[in-house]
Symmetry: D2
Subunit: 371 residues, 4 copies
């Protein structure tokens, strides 16, 4: 054992034997993945931590990865960028977390030192950003290595609900930052949310922090719209007839909405947004897009609108933690299905057939302390 | 004479005889216009004022109108939405201006009372907005009727230069509000302006209010770029080789610019903007667009950018007046040609052949007190 | 009758006989006031309107006036700056309201044309501001003349509750603008409100638009604190022991509050605010002060705080109207007593003994159509 | 040698012998200080760096310390919180700087990880803030230990001027953040700066980033006012007659200034600020105060003003670096005297008699590589 290894390991509780393995969901190219044995991760840098995963979940982006849509994800990668767990080891440079502490893992890794992090744009961290389950191994596993742990983990509030808190890894800050903050939702506003999937519903929940007068929810699926109603939507619009924009304009006396939030990621849903935004209004994009859209600048150039895009920075996580802890926000309402981590392949099937299964968020739990 | 007429005219200096006529540039359908006799305007509403034009100018939009591109402009319309003049008559409701006062005419008419005006969005005034030389008669004439005069005129600073001040009718607030304010130019920023025509140069002049570290000017015309250099541009890029975006990225070490300002109004120039905006940056659109553009959401969705559109609100006119009066901003540098108003047809020829004539702003002056 | 008079009266429904009188609460120097006959008001300027008062209320400021604290209020003045009524006459320059329309009277008069109004600072309108029941006759009467009616009245939403809506004349925008907006209340914030009188409670109600995590209410009166609890306060602190700041610091683990809102107007209550504001926090002053305060710059200079003062601008009245109309905000909860306008002297007694009478807002109603 | 030492020292260029000493200005209680031998600093934590000082300077705060005004500074402390130097050693956790790199030392130490740092309030860093030359040894020495080096040092731009750059340690960000940013200086504003000492002049220089229409400089010393004139002040007011506020009101037609910046730290200068701030204006405090001030809330409560305090966060240092590097800002104009570090006692004498010596900033340079 070299001195460097020794130093890095000094703050580890129980140095794992080098032969230790764990289980994880591993991607093997388009359409192929398996719950299989992988080596236990090891601390590489002073800022690293190893977290034993207790709870994780599946994101829509994971489905895209499995289809082979993201070339940055290569064969052998452990998937997942959301999770709750317990710190098992920390490098010598980790100052904010100690072994045995329960933590929320942020989907975005932040070194806190680069120019982007210094500006609060963790999404574009020069050494991090969204890398978990993308360019480095992720959280759908028994253990995960978290680089830059001090900027990428958050203390789990004692006594809180893991199901609620795992929504803080990605979906809640994404909905809030990309949709609500960028959309500048204000008291009295009329807000339309296009897409009532998990992220759209996260927008819906967090938009209510600012007391808009009306929230119009637009989706193809009446079941999802019914959930939206329960979670605070004031008007439901099924876009199945292809006239969603028309219906919104009718509901707003022709004026359109103050804020239109795109939470799907398709040209058609983007198009609804540009068709309904009021003069002086904002379009906030949350959806992940795979294709260009046609932007009607010939209609919009004199409408005084703004359009924003954003990969979540997770800078609002501490605030969201406070609000979820106070019980004012109950994101566990988004959870529809629960599986043991061992059954993750089945969980993907359910989440992949969301419409049929009436699935929103699917929660995964690891049973015991070590795989 | 009815009582109402009498009341409305009571504050007129010299009630014109009803047979009075004046001369004006009148639009007669695509490609047709003439400097001809028209009836002298008469006060219609308590908020109206009649202004004798001393100085006017021609806008790029006027060329579009002449081509027939704006269906809102119909046969018989007097063109022009910029001008300096002297108040000749005021309705009983006008409180801010008196007969004989020299004024700057804003291109945007503001009632000050509607919901949009109350929010500072005069561009979308329910009773005004851009109507001069569009849906009502304009300023390329000897006299013009200004509705909602209290919200649509500004006092001419005593001793100021008319050539400089006529730039406050449209071009300076347009460049400043749509480009600089919406682009949130900040000290130390790197700013790119696509288009070195009069509006692009107005952006260039007013961007310097905020001390950006670098201003890159992009245009096809080296003569215009040379003017930009004199007015403060730090880097000149001729986009004639079709690789403007590439050159900008090279100049910015691959990072792109904090603010990209579109001051042309074409898909190709818009495309440069989306190709050069840095993560976390802003695209501010100033150009008037006639066609949709392709927006690369597949590249931009995670770049944390904002894109804004705006028709000028002219809410910054008082501030701009102060700065021009103090001599810190010298918009008369944009004036390349001068004509008597009588020669307006010749002036349009010069302005219409801007590249060949090296024309930027063309100033028109009325000679005497009454046509 | 002169032509001018005729013109001004043309839009009147029923020109009142010049001998008409009405009844009003008239101030006659410190400690003296009476419900007595006064001449019916007459339109003076094109922008004027006459409103028949249906509902009014009494403000803490009115008590100060009665004591003689405001030298701007002179013998013979009709008091009151809050009210709901019906438009009886309008000048020729009034475009937003018609005879017979029910309206909310704003406590602040706005010409909409001066530099302050153009910046949204109606409170400092060069021709208005707070003048009603101060330098011109007010609303505790059967009729009132409203100058600059287009900027000073708001349409009463059809079917709304007059008791709720009369809170929009002053108390709700005051609490919201001076306290909540200036205090920059944000989701997750800890907010302290010093003073649980009507204005402090208006702050409490409107602070909840932004979902703060905790609202600490501080007052000497347990009954008022109990009301605050019902209206959403999360922590109640009776400041009677002189250690309010100490208690707040205890409740916030020594860190203090993000926002401290002063809603009393005394050196002692101001002092609590500066003792509890966290580093980086805001002190927003709402109270009307009669004396200087000692500001501990030796402690605050390096605390990165902001302190704001504000006379309400009523620029948020349209938004508040929307939210009250939607039922999300129920300001009628602040009403504890009701009187006929005839009994206004008794109403002042009750309101003047607020602690003993457990009085918050006291509502006054005019019975019939004409006095 | 223990493993820990070895690890911490691995990235050191030349491990100093443990007997090494250096020279430094050491505080020995009120009125006592000496340039004497002290032990060479040693890395204590992975985030530490040791910097060999090449250039330093003296701050007004250092004079306060010498007088004994700051109880946090105790006998034996090395003074100084400004400096340029070369990195000599780094701990294992330092990732942004390497040995041999020239750096600017920030007066504020930032861990980047605590809640305050995450909000950009480095001034209140839980582990740092202003500690250099205060609670830990400072920069008026041959070497200094910089904790949390990654957040507390900035790369020195190649080819830049050390005299200019040392102004970035404290004075420029202080003037800019506390005065200009907090004062929200905008194009066209009228700004008054009370105090033409080094910090007031730093405010003056950086206020011009935002193109105010007028900058009024107020001081007792005509020589300093003359410097202010050269650096861009438009109006000079000698406050020696005790009527500074009156003069400012005369210069502003009674309206007062948009922004009043306090750059002295005395009740009398603070009082000027509250006497001259316009309705709707801002008072930004930069001065270090030792006593409470009387705040005229009885006059200010309805004036819609804001008052801010701030200890510099140095979050704008990267931007200021860019602007100084581009030559647009020339802070070396503030340097009036130069001394070898050996002569620091003499330098303090000069700086302590600033008025008589016409001293602004006094620059100190270390001659050779090791003392």
């Amino acid at each position: 054992m070299t001195i460097a290894e020794l130093d890095l390991a000094t703050t580890s509780a129980v140095p794992p034997s080098t032969s230790a393995t764990m289980r994880a969901l591993v991607y093997h190219g388009p359409g192929k993945s398996a719950w299989e044995r992988k080596p236990y991760p090891t601390i590489q840098d002073p800022g690293d931590a190893i977290v034993r995963i207790t709870t994780s979940t599946i994101c829509g982006t994971d489905l895209h990865i499995l289809k082979g849509d993201l070339p940055s994800v290569t064969d052998g990668r452990i998937l997942g960028h959301e999770g709750i767990g317990v710190v098992e080891q920390v490098g010598t440079g980790v100052s904010e977390f100690h072994i045995g502490e329960k933590v929320i893992i942020s989907c975005v890794t932040a070194c806190l030192k680069c120019d982007y992090c210094r500006r609060g744009m963790y999404s574009h961290c020069r050494r991090g950003g969204w890398i978990l389950g993308n360019t480095i191994d992720g959280t759908q596993a028994e253990y995960v290595l978290i680089p830059h742990a001090d900027g990428s983990l958050y203390s789990f509030p004692s006594g809180a609900d893991e199901e609620a808190m795992v929504m803080l890894s990605d979906i809640l800050p994404t909905g809030f930052e990309c949709g609500v903050l960028n959309g500048q939702v204000k008291p009295g506003d009329t807000v339309a949310i296009v897409g009532a999937g998990p992220v759209g519903l996260a927008v819906l929940l967090t938009a209510q922090f600012y007391s808009p007068a009306a929230i119009l929810m637009i989706d193809l699926d009446d079941k999802r719209l019914a959930v939206a109603k329960k979670l605070g939507a004031t008007t439901l619009i099924n876009s199945g007839d292809g006239h969603a924009a028309h219906h919104v304009l009718e509901q707003t006396e022709g004026g359109g909405v103050d804020v239109a939030i795109e939470a799907v990621g398709l040209p058609a849903t983007f198009d609804i947004c540009q068709g309904i935004v009021a003069a002086g209004g904002r379009i906030a994009n949350v959806g992940v897009h795979g294709k260009p859209v046609e932007l009607h600048m010939e209609k919009l150039w004199d409408r005084n609108i703004s359009l924003t895009t954003r990969l979540v920075d997770t800078v609002t996580t501490p605030m969201l933690l406070k609000v979820v802890s106070s019980g004012k926000l109950q994101p566990s309402k988004l959870v529809t299905h629960r599986f043991a981590m061992n059954d993750i392949v089945k969980a993907y099937d359910t989440f992949g057939n969301a419409a049929k299964e009436s699935a929103l968020k699917v929660v995964l739990t690891n049973g015991g302390p070590r795989g």
